[in-house]
């Protein structure tokens, strides 16, 4: 992986954005590793992501930021620039299912998922051994009792997330509905994997519903979490073929592979600043 700065911008569309930004980068000696743009016709918003080779730049990151700010202001940009070597901190929330978590942790260990995992939190003890084998702190936060008790549990989770300075929260089949205030507190930071091809089979028991409907493909959906259940911006989806020979348990088993794969891909897009949100949709600069 080349050392780069990733500059991510969105702003109202108008003539000259690319010219101005790329001229700014060139003026500071910057060599482009990647550059992607999207002008959304519906919203007249412009999205761009640029990877700049660090070794080519004549200025450092703070200097880049302070010089770029007036440029950005001219175009009314929402923007950020991030060092590709600065690891994001991903807190993972799991339940009793292990497949997504095991898949992510193995990718992390083998260097295929570039991030830190400061903690794993679960409402069960099931995954403790695995998490600790990977050398990460594990926290057991039960999810029991009435609404007030659950709310307290989410407060505890938020404390852990903040304590570990996590900037991303992955729901690796967490199976709990998040309170609205939790969702808004970590807006665009929470990534969920839903075990259906949304918008089919929203809510609980999607494989059961898929089995009963007799669909010929089942799928999984990775999306940013909003307070509208299973309705957040979709980052990635994929499917696998099924038929009359597969019963409900087969669907669950086959679905696991798709879930793990789709979640890993969606998280990768997020960590590499490739997933930008526009309204309830995403722009994915893959």
């Amino acid at each position: 992986m080349k050392h780069s700065y990733r500059l991510v911008i969105h702003c109202p569309d108008r003539v000259g954005i690319v010219a101005t930004v790329s001229q700014f980068i060139a003026d500071n000696g910057g060599s482009l590793l990647e550059a992607s743009y999207h002008a959304d016709p519906a919203t007249q918003r412009f999205f761009m992501r640029t990877e700049i080779e660090v070794s080519s730049l004549s200025i450092d990151l703070p200097e880049f930021e302070s010089r770029f700010k007036p440029v950005a202001d001219t175009f009314n940009m929402t923007w950020q620039i991030r060092d590709s070597l600065q690891k994001r901190k991903v807190a993972m929330l799991a339940s009793q299912s292990t497949h997504c978590l095991a898949d992510l942790l193995h990718r992390w260990q083998s260097g295929d998922l570039f991030c830190d995992v400061p903690c794993v939190i679960s409402n069960h003890e099931t995954v403790r051994d695995m998490v600790e084998w990977y050398g990460m702190p594990f926290y057991h936060v039960p999810m029991l009792g009435d609404a007030a008790a659950k709310h307290a549990s989410f407060e505890k989770i938020a404390e852990l997330i903040d304590h570990h300075s996590a900037d991303t929260i992955v729901l690796a089949r967490f199976m709990q509905i998040l309170p609205a205030d939790f969702c808004s507190r970590y807006a665009r930071q929470i990534i969920n994997i839903h075990h259906s091809f949304l918008p089919s089979f929203i809510g609980a028991n999607p494989y059961k519903k898929a089995y009963e409907r007799g669909v010929k493909l089942i799928g999984a959906t990775c999306h940013y979490v909003t307070d509208d259940l299973d309705e957040g911006p979709i980052i990635e989806q994929d499917v696998v073929r099924v038929g009359h020979k597969q019963d409900h348990d087969d669907l669950v088993r086959l679905g696991k592979d798709v879930e793990a794969r789709v979640l890993a891909q969606g998280l990768r897009y997020h960590l590499e600043d490739r997933a930008m949100v526009q309204g309830n949709k995403t722009v994915i600069f893959d």
Copy 2:
């Protein structure tokens, strides 16, 4: 294609069905080209499809049927046997979209779709030239006016279907909602292609809905028509990948390929007696 009889059976599950049927076939010298079974655990129904090489049989089709009847009765079978060389008669209903119809007619002409197409009926004149080039009768049945006028149009269509002795009706993007009595009159004989991955985006304008939801895959669904719109037993589905670069028109264009492919595959299953209906699902012996 080898000349075969296709014996299709469903009945309550119990011990000895396969033994009895295959013994019956062997006793008459029959060599099996294919044999497929499915026992549905939910309904305790047994489904089977057997292809018997005609040249190996010592009896003809009527004799087979009369000898097999008492066997079938013993097991309370619903069954039929069909000569693979006996062409099914497929009436096609189209509207202004040509892609599914053009695809089917080309497959028919090149011998990849083994059936007769006794007539094509449309509420527009758009496809007349194409249909007549292929040498088939074309009928224009307008779909205008109030419910009564539309009902009369469907009466006219039913007359044409019956006049041409069609045993299968393909809605090749027909875009009209069929009256309930029409659906029940031709139960399990009408095949529709819906331009979404059902149960996502039921009803009108699925590509618009898919675009607005920001899904990363769009699909098509081939299903038997029941009087419950887009809820009939699914025969085949497939998907294609899309992203933020594709606008609504791109989705329509990309979807056409999937629709044509899925409809052709679904129709093939039907024509080869590979699609059996159980409740609101299908068993596909592919």
Copy 3:
């Protein structure tokens, strides 16, 4: 389809290319509809494709070209700019198989393939009726006899291509090996569909070889033709699942769908100036 100019460039990679080009476009009022870049690390070449909205530009195409020339020279660019409404002229060469040709012609007729088809040439009469129904000139150029006779046939084909000012030649399952001088005369203008997943099963009878090898997926490959058989730069590939139930004829039938789809996609990339060649590979700005 928005009216755009497509500016396609490749040149040695260095700092400032995007800045200079996009500044040039912005200075002339140009609004970007799409912009894609690729820096190839192996060859240190830079590739870019930009779509500029015509209505936003303050200058016309000849003026753009004359003003851009000195900019391009500075960077030692190979470049071209094309009006999206200027239809490319695609001559199609076919043999006895109709599936790819029928697919392309139907897409052309329904407006999904934006080009002119000035002529279709075949060494058989098989497709004449179909071609003439679509209203295109059809030429029968037999491919018989010894090498000299075949060479004369290709001379005749070249005359027809030039007479019709075709800028693109599609081999829609043409099944003839092109002479080296023909290949170099129309370098990067000839698009072939090979009925295997290259580099598997190069040469004749790929489905037979696939059947004998027992592969579980068969495929098709669309590539630019060079004088090295089946070795040209790959534009697009896709596959379909097969198994022991499919015999050789089934593979041929299933392969037809993939061939038609892959050829149509590859040709679309070419016509929209999305396929750039680097060495023996392609950059596809999809």
Copy 4:
């Protein structure tokens, strides 16, 4: 998973095989859970696989075997029957890559891969910790030195395999060429995952070759090992889409997912007696 006996048979094709076998099963009260057949036209061999519900049978497994033997002899059958609850013993051979092994062991632990793993053997220490965490014996057998030294290493591996009574050997990216005598000693028991879509890119460095050829899909192939490198009967294959943006390292990373998935699927077919070998091909009763 229902408790079943899996009866797997192949023999010369002739009339009456299914009838005789299914009559035998029915006579002993056996209820069929699955039944699949294939008559290979090229070799005139008949293949069948039947799952019989244990609770329905009036006889036990040894009695079934002794009674079935004369029936089998009549048809010159090669056959076996296996208790679905009898776990196969799968020895795994690995090298430094962990992705396939980690994937298989996690599936094993979560109950999705029904087998015992009596030992894991590697020529490196890399995977020791992981294997021991799963509670399995790990053996380090270095692969160094000349041909004689390597042959001795394979002797050591064979001893371990036999000591642990393994009946299946999985090469989970083992990366060593097996000696011919080792291959024949464990004929049809060794399953390999090759990191290309065979027959493309046989031998070493397939991702490098794929990158240089510029293919648009890369794949993986699970096959039985014969002494002809990468030429054994293919059990399963799959692919993933790539393009000019992916460099060699990306291909390696993306390929890992396909490799793990294809190997797990191929092994599952083997363990459930769904993969039958005919010549250099397989019949997969999925």
